[in-house]
């Protein structure tokens, strides 16, 4: 019977002298899950990854994989596949030799090795470049070799450290789709470290948002996006608008506009800080019910219009789907409107 939790970090901490890189981090990963460690640089996500890989020893706490304590297991014996942002391919070996390295270390017979290397390169669509050296390949191709090299050993856990950050936008998007598909097909438990929230949201089953050496929120990406735990998460996962209001009797008032509060906030009284996502706002023509303002700027993004609307409460970002209707002009007086269930109250940190 498979354990419900494949990998568990139990109150892990890491100090470097007087500096505490990781205060306390605990989480569990289910078998086959794709988890994202997300946060700005210096939040401790890479240190956490290094401890799972076995290159840093935790100062406190315990890491277990498959019920086994990893504390005394050296990196070479953990059976973890690693992919770095810098690819970290062996520059003096061809693509095939790079992929074969892990199999050689496992004393896999030569015939078997050749077969599995070919399969792994096929998996990442690079069979035709087996004899190229890393310097003869593009960044995207090198990243695929790195992925094949990590997967060929049939790792129990795959760790990806900012794997797509060095690729250009279009290639990154392609690789995201491919990575997601590959991970599903192989079913390998995967942890992705990234500072790119859109990448984490696109790829992961769950994201753990880290700040200052601890996890602020761990949740499915859409849940963390819709119900952020605090100010930091709300800002880090996409954009949000702040709406300071005065609540009373299930309603609230801001900038002369009265509006309904969602049921969970209906009993609030007094000052309250609300947030709302740009795509949850609607723009109405002047005179309609809503918060009055003026179009400050508009950007056409193809599928979307991104407006900035100046109001008495500050500037609001509004994202409207391009439905083919005539856009609002810059400088035009407009009103902002929304549904009560789109409002969130911000926890003050």
């Amino acid at each position: 019977m498979a354990a419900p939790h494949f990998l568990t970090l139990d109150r892990i901490g890491k100090d470097y002298g007087a500096f505490t890189a990781i205060r306390e981090v605990s989480f569990s990963v289910a078998p086959g899950e794709f988890l994202g460690l997300l946060g700005p640089s210096g939040c401790g996500k890479t240190t956490t990854l290094q401890m799972i890989a076995g290159f840093e020893a935790p100062s406190r706490g315990r890491i277990t994989m498959d019920g086994r304590d990893l504390t005394t297991v050296p990196a070479a014996k953990r059976g973890i596949g690693l992919v770095f942002q810098s690819y970290a391919l062996f520059p003096h070996m061809t693509a095939a030799e790079n992929v074969a390295f892990g199999l050689e270390m496992r004393r896999v017979s030569k015939a078997e090795r050749i077969k599995r290397v070919a399969e792994a390169l096929d998996l990442v669509h690079l069979a035709h470049l087996a004899d190229r050296f890393p310097r003869q390949m593009s960044g995207g191709q090198q990243q695929r070799v790195a992925l094949a090299r990590a997967l060929v050993i049939e790792p129990r856990l795959l760790l990806l450290d900012e794997p797509l950050s060095n690729l250009d936008a279009k290639l990154r998007e392609e690789m995201q789709v491919e990575l997601r598909e590959l991970q599903r097909r192989i079913g390998v438990t995967t942890i992705l470290v990234t500072h790119d929230q859109s990448e984490a949201m696109a790829l992961c089953d769950r994201v753990a948002i880290m700040q200052g050496g601890r996890i602020v929120q761990i949740d499915a990406p859409w849940r963390a996006y819709d119900v952020p735990a605090d100010d930091f998460v709300a800002d880090f996962l996409g954009r949000s608008n702040r709406l300071p209001a005065c609540a009373g009797g299930g309603q609230a008032e801001a900038g002369g506009h009265r509006f309904a509060l969602p049921p969970d906030l209906a009993d609030r009284q007094g000052d309250i800080l609300l947030t709302i996502r740009p795509e949850r706002l609607r723009i109405g023509n002047d005179g309609a019910a809503g918060l009055g303002g003026r179009v400050q700027s508009r950007l056409f993004l193809g599928g979307f219009w991104l407006y900035a609307v100046e109001t008495a409460l500050g500037s609001f970002a509004v994202m409207l789907q391009n439905t083919g209707s005539v856009p609002h002009d810059e400088g035009a007086p407009v009103t902002l409107d929304w549904d009560a269930h789109s409002l969130r109250r911000l926890e003050r940190a």
């Binding site: 890989a53 076995g54 290159f55 990196a75 070479a76 014996k77 953990r78 059976g79 973890i80 596949g81 690693l82 770095f84 810098s86 970290a88 391919l89 062996f90 520059p91 003096h92 390295f101 892990g102 270390m105 496992r106 310097r135 790195a146 090299r149 990590a150 050993i153």
Partner: protein
């Protein structure tokens, strides 16, 4: 590559002239037929080139210097590679002291070093022996070795070694299969520089040499001290031409400018 301006061209021309002119003079003088150092030449002669063969002590000293240089450079590599790895990869107590000790021979005048080693080695009976000279040369050349191996290491992403480790390689295997092949150009460059420095070393060797352990520079120096005939010119010219030939052959297999900067093949 950017083109040189007129000022840079003039500078390079002067630089090359001052470097090459003395060598050309020495080579020219070696073909004199006279019994003294003469330029311009009155006709070409191989008299002093043949004289090299009649003076076996120069040949003996040449082979001695060759053995000395190869031994010292190799020993120095065996010290510098682990030292450079430790310095580059780990923060340990005494790291600063290790760097300072290994680099200190660069800052101590060779005369001082020579006197000190003579006094020190006498106590062990090492003075005037091959072993004594090897030890002294290792001390003198290791800073160079360390610099070039260190330069090779600094260009090596530690994540490459970590990748190898995560694939199941032991520390020793990582070193043998990944680290060493990647720093090999730096080690080779360091070895050549160390060898050349040893082969050329005079000041320290003067204090430690003996008739049975007499490196070529000391032999030449002592010879000039007693007489000034064109034999020193022909011996020097032979060394210059020999070195140039070795470098030319080496450059065909391994571009020297890259070796000396510790760069990997691009």
């Amino acid at each position: 590559m950017s083109r040189n301006g007129p000022l840079a061209l003039a500078f390079h021309a002067l630089f090359l002239t001052f470097i090459l002119a003395p060598l050309l003079v020495v080579i020219g003088v070696s073909f004199t037929g006279e019994g003294y150092l003469a330029l311009p030449l009155n006709g070409l002669s191989l008299r002093w080139w043949r004289a090299i063969g009649d003076n076996p002590r120069f040949l003996e000293s040449f082979w001695f210097s060759l053995r000395l240089g190869v031994t010292a450079a190799t020993l120095s590599a065996l010290i510098a590679v682990p030292a450079a790895l430790a310095i580059a990869r780990w923060r340990f107590p005494g790291r600063g002291a290790l760097v300072a000790i290994l680099a200190s021979p660069l800052m101590i005048p060779h005369v001082v070093l020579g006197v000190a080693l003579l006094r020190f080695f006498s106590g062990f009976g090492l003075s005037g022996s091959f072993a004594g000279l090897v030890t002294a040369h290792v001390i003198v050349i290791t800073p160079y070795m360390l610099r070039l191996v260190g330069a090779g290491l600094s260009g090596l992403d530690p994540r490459i070694e970590r990748a190898a480790e995560s694939l199941g390689a032991s520390r020793l295997t990582v070193f043998r299969r990944v680290t060493l092949p990647l720093i090999a150009p730096g080690v080779a460059g360091g070895w050549i520089l160390a060898f050349v420095t040893s082969f050329d070393e005079l000041t320290v060797s003067l204090f430690l040499a003996s008739p049975s352990a007499n490196p070529l520079p000391v032999q030449l120096f002592n010879y000039i001290d007693q007489m000034t005939d064109p034999l020193v010119a022909s011996v020097s010219a032979a060394l210059i031409l020999g070195t140039a030939l070795v470098l030319l052959v080496l450059d065909r297999f391994y571009p020297i400018d890259r070796l000396l900067t510790g760069e990997r093949r691009a």
